[in-house]
Symmetry: C2
Subunit: 476 residues, 2 copies
């Protein structure tokens, strides 16, 4: 139905997934490339999705007591260097400001790649007593990491994100918070973005520089590759010791605080594209969609059509609804609405008006439903949550279908030779095996999942006894 | 009533306004100083105000068709240099990134001080036909300007703001948009922030680097000094020519677009503090207040008090309401609520419960009202808008009382020697006179107001015939 010739074509998803992804980013007008490599312009259609994500996520944070703040975007080198592991992890990929106001600075300032150091420096003066704890702060901002390879949303030199940084009086409380925020991320992705994930812990090799433990949610893209979609870190007292963040506890003793941080980025827009998108473009889950329903008049120059279409739009005002009144052809409008991933299209033409009906088209399945105009609102009310649920179920089925189990080295090798997806296999816990597996098969440990299952007896790399089941995969 | 000894004292507003301002910023926990001069931490109480400002302003923008986007934070030097006036205006105060990812960059990148150049570079490829126009884009972000003197919110090296950048097919449309956004700012300040302003045009000396015309809204602080609170610029086709932003018009001719930009910053938080604040701290207008009502139980350990206080909080759930259940004394809680500028306090103690009443205290006037519990919700419903209106009216009366008129040089000199405020006086239009006035009296032209009045015949500086009435004042 959609007039493909009129809307610029996108590469087939099955022919060239990478090119398909880039095409969708550009043709759905989510981004434009900028003058500097790895820095992108997020266009209105892309930014509206980010605004929806922010709204949902921010409400979930605030419901757990989190407060928003804003920290400086520049970090003095000496402050960054106080915690050795973090600086070693990030130093190779930061941007340095060396001149300000026509003068050479006495100390280099880096554009924040993440703000543990700033929060720690702030907390050290802000916290004195156990009564001041916990502090549950978050900020929405942009960060810069000088990546070599860049791709829209997935890996860029500047990206938008939120970073939560909390400090606590006890280890237990900090550990609970680390898990709580991982759950917030997983629930948000499942319920709002219709993206199922695997929750687990990162191996030491893959964990965040400076963290005692990193927890992750891993999603599976349509092409079978994994995407780390949100992380939550437990720092223990490392930063507290490096930055001297102490408090007087109930027992009147001076103690170091316990710390966490957690972040989610514009990368989840990439996840949404690669989990739900198809050969007609974006498919946005209804809860996140900036526009949920597009009303398209057919033969709009005929008397009464435009008026009726506007009436339908007015009927649907409880949803995020728009009407396409431009003078483009209906086929062109359909293709645009599909490219933009708008969950529902309502078509109304002269014949429909005569019969008191309209046509509803689902973006996710292509299904077309004739609907009495008198029942339109109720139908949309039922369809949107159903689409949301079914999108999640399809993504979950895809994840499950592309999750394999390997008990032996041979099975492991064979599976990755023939399939793309997650492979569940045993690991001895040795970093050397992890590195060898990466070298041999080009796959990394995605996480040690919470839901463990003994799928074999020995490490699929070295053959020694193993107790940990790991999700392995090719990752973005 | 408030227990001043328990809450850290602030300097008296009338003794030392500058110190009072800083004290309020710190003691009301709006900000903390950071490691780098001029970079501040915006704490939860401060950021919540900014979130409220964003919400109100963003809704007003979107109601006029504006869409949000995000542009890179770094600008290559060559891109910045394309428009001469802008770079001359900003070059002395930018921060330069010269190293990225351990390597020296081949071209310096400046941290955006404003984004005309980036929007122009983007628009040149994004716009082809008159059908693509207008583009009404805005972004919320942080910018860096390497100021020498810094003060929280008023002048800092990094600040948060929004910057709108629009392009149009015709001059008239761009001029209309410039005025429309100035009106949006003025209405927002008047209706949401309860701050009256004077609308006018900046002189050439005071206008934005690169603009053909800059329009401003000027507010008057409690100490009689002016604060430029929002600006809207008309660029004509300057940037279009420098960055080659062309489109094919209806007549099939290639033309340059017409451009505007407009911005409002965290500075308006400074305006709010200095217009409404008093010797007990902040006074936040109800529409912006993150917390509108604070319920404070008196003798909360007595049976039934805490329960009743929670009941009142529940009754008031249509407002942004909190309850202070901490074990601090009521006097301390009052002082904290006053310092934080929460518009209404509801006190409830054992005696009140017996009588079925509670006590309401207005933050702005200090007025205390006994109120039947059964009428509490209705009373708050009436009080909040009344406070909003009266705060505006008081600020307007203050502005009018501190606006003077000078017909002669002598009057002008005498007024500024004796008073602080706006002085309305005639000006010949000559930049030299403006500079001389600044030198002689330490005051600047704030704006050439839309509402003109011939308050004299000759320029108060040179004595030549003058047709323009200007608002003069000492500014932040």
């Amino acid at each position: 139905m959609a007039d493909k010739k009129l809307v610029a074509e996108i590469t087939s998803r099955d022919e060239d997934f990478t090119q398909w992804y880039t095409d969708v980013c550009i043709k759905a007008e989510l981004i434009a490339y900028s003058y500097i490599k790895g820095f992108m312009v997020i266009k209105p259609a892309g930014y509206a999705i980010w605004e929806a994500i922010q709204q949902h996520l921010d409400a979930r944070f605030k419901a757990t007591g989190v407060q928003n703040v804003y920290m400086p975007m520049l970090i003095p080198e000496s402050l960054l260097r106080k915690e050795g592991e973090l600086v070693n992890g990030f130093a190779p990929e930061v941007a340095w400001v060396t001149e300000g106001g026509s003068e050479k600075l006495t100390e280099r300032l880096c554009v924040r790649p993440t703000s543990e150091t700033l929060f720690s420096d702030f907390y050290k003066d802000d916290v004195h007593s156990y009564r001041d704890l916990p502090k549950l702060y978050n900020q929405w901002c942009s960060v810069v990491r000088w990546e070599k390879e860049t791709r829209p949303f997935l890996r860029s030199r500047e990206f938008l994100w939120q970073e939560g940084h909390t400090i606590h009086a006890t280890k237990e409380e900090a550990e609970d918070r680390t898990q709580m925020m991982l759950d917030v991320y997983a629930d948000f992705l499942a319920e709002d973005m219709a993206i199922p994930t695997i929750k687990g812990r990162k191996t030491d090799k893959e964990k965040f520089a400076g963290a005692e433990a990193t927890y992750t949610i891993e999603a599976l893209m349509h092409d079978g590759r994994a995407l780390q979609s949100g992380t939550s870190h437990f720092f223990g007292q490392k930063f507290a010791e490096a930055y001297d963040i102490t408090f007087t506890d109930k027992d009147n003793k001076l103690k170091y605080v316990w710390q966490t941080s957690w972040g989610m980025t514009t990368r989840v827009i990439g996840a949404m594209i690669m989990v739900h998108g198809d050969n007609s473009g974006l498919v946005i889950p209804p809860k996140i969609a900036p526009v949920q329903v597009m009303v398209i008049p057919i033969q709009q120059r005929k008397e009464g059509v435009l008026e009726k279409a506007r009436e339908l739009k007015e009927m649907l005002r409880e949803f995020r609804v728009q009407i396409d009144e431009t003078d483009k052809s209906p086929g062109f409008k359909f293709a645009e609405q599909e490219m933009r991933g708008i969950p529902l299209r309502v078509e109304i033409g002269p014949r429909d008006i005569e019969n008191g009906v309209c046509m509803i088209a689902r973006r996710d399945t292509g299904e077309k439903i004739q609907c009495a105009i008198s029942e339109l609102t109720q139908t949309v009310r039922e369809l949107l949550p159903r689409i949301q649920t079914e999108m999640y179920e399809r993504a979950k089925a895809h994840l499950e279908e592309h999750t394999y189990t390997a008990a032996t080295t041979e099975e492991f090798e064979k599976t990755f030779a023939e399939k793309t997806g997650f492979v569940r296999a045993m690991w001895c816990g040795d970093r050397a095996c992890e590195e060898k597996i990466k070298e041999l098969y080009g796959v990394t440990s995605r996480c040690i999942p919470y839901e463990q299952e003994k799928v074999g007896e020995t490490c699929i790399c070295c053959g020694k006894p193993a107790t940990k089941m790991v999700y392995w995969g090719k990752a973005y």
